[in-house]
Amino acid sequence: MLIKQAPDIPSSEITSESVYRRRRQILKAMLAGGAMMAAHPAMALDRYALESDDKRYPGPDWLQTKLRAAKAGDPVTGESLTPYTDVTGHNNFYEFGLGKEDPKAKAQNFNTDPWKVEISGEVGKPGTYTLEDLLKPHALEERIYRLRCVEAWSMVIPWVGFPLGDLIKRFEPTGNAKYVEFTTLQDPAQMPGQRSFFSTLDWPYVEGLRMDEAMHPLAILAVGVYGDALPPQNGAPLRLVVPWKYGFKSIKSIVRIRLTEEMPKVTWNQTAPSEYGFYANVNPKVDHPRWSQATERRLPSSLFSPHIIDTRMFNGYADQVAHLYSGMDLRKWF
């Protein structure tokens, strides 16, 4: 199989033609806005504030300050953002129920502040850190990514976060670190889904990445969405976002990051190994055993002309990530 090498410049860095043609105008506008920006650096992400009257989540003060300083991200060319109300009202977060509207309904009292994260395993500096200390050295930036659910629906979401690789480097991985394992909070008192007798999933939820995947600049840890803090239903206060993999890889409400030598036992793979692999890369050529992955419905979708689009290899991020899997049989390692 021929896999293209990643170009030196990721496509996200390339100035789009429309911006290039309007560069003088844009520069002028930026200069004019400079004074305002200095007084109110929030400008960039504040543009979302007026878009909906749904509940916003400012987060603790220290986080709000960091979010306000975040650099705005590049839009996904030709694809519009999924509205805030849909991004925060249509979630798979089985800890709060199986229905798509359950997380929003049942997670509002989920306590995400204070929050601690354990860093352990094959690292030089293991320990348990408050979220504030964990985030301190990292500047936040917006990343607008496609999200492709394994159930064949998709969204475009403006996350705010920072590269996962930057965090991992800080804790000095040892030579034995081959994988990164993430664990979601286990707290049945707060998470009704973890009390369900009929669930086939084992708690806590565990996900993992190979080390080179985790170090890839597209993989981020997100603390915000649409310019504000993450709502509890979206995995507050800290979640993974790996845009070239199915959504379930992007684990929510992380309490532990452990570097390991062995491949982590990830939840969906443990539950149904024939349906969910460890890699779970978006791949239109490898169907889920029960349904097709060749197309997806971009949400929100209008009833009488459903927005059906072809699913792209690695969710459209093939140029950046395909080299990670060169020589691998992606049918076997699905």
Partner: protein
């Protein structure tokens, strides 16, 4: 004075009023989902919500239809028999809406997607076969067909049992995690089918039910 449903059926006005009640009630789920759709109150994925809702009501009407005979015999509710065909036809009605909603809202009537779903997806194939079975039963539910088919009519309409099993498989195959709901409906179906097995065994043993 308390009137039982059997009492109501003694007068022709009572029968007519009750018939209309039984006829209009099953339209409530449809009215509700149409209302929610017009209100745009179905979340980010109304297509999936509508299809799932109609599918669930198809299954519920199928179970109600299958419950008529046991209920008539166990509780002596002879009036229930009058509504068996109506609820069978409502099962078909909701099954058609379910299929139509799937083809329109999820597949957008794209021929390539329809061909793919019908040839490759076991749960779709199973559901489609169940629908074809319901169509056959619905079409032969008229008095004319009952007369024309004679004894074979009953044999044909025993198809409702395999149809119900296929519908349950279709439902269970969609589950990713959490089997509580499927288990509930599967138990109901097992109960209703178990009753038939029990009657069959009794009949073989020579005890004949009045029916």
């Amino acid at each position: 004075m308390v009137l039982s449903i059997a009492d109501i059926h003694r007068s022709s006005t009572g029968r007519r009023v009750f018939w209309w009640l039984m006829f209009l009630l099953p339209l409530m789920p449809l009215a509700w989902i149409v209302f929610k759709t017009l209100e745009q109150d179905l979340g980010a994925d109304p297509a999936q919500t509508i299809v799932t809702f109609l599918g669930l009501w198809t299954l519920r009407f199928l179970l109600i239809t299958l419950a008529v005979t046991p209920v008539r015999r166990v509780f002596g509710w002879l009036w229930a028999q009058r509504y068996r065909r109506m609820y069978g036809l409502y099962t078909l009605f909701y099954a058609c809406l379910h299929l139509l909603a799937f083809a329109t809202f999820i597949l957008g009537w794209r021929p390539d997607l329809i061909a793919r779903e019908l040839s490759e997806r076991p749960y779709i194939i199973v559901g489609f076969i169940a629908w074809l079975g319901l169509v056959a039963l619905g079409m032969t539910s008229t008095r004319g067909w009952v007369r024309r088919l004679g004894r074979r009519w009953q044999q044909l309409h025993y198809l409702v049992y395999p149809i119900a099993v296929l519908a349950m498989i279709h439902f269970a195959w969609l589950i990713r995690a959490g089997f509580g709901q499927v288990l509930f409906y599967a138990l109901l179906l097992a109960l209703l089918l178990g009753y038939r097995v029990k009657s069959l065994v009794k009949r073989r043993a020579g005890i004949v039910h009045p029916s």
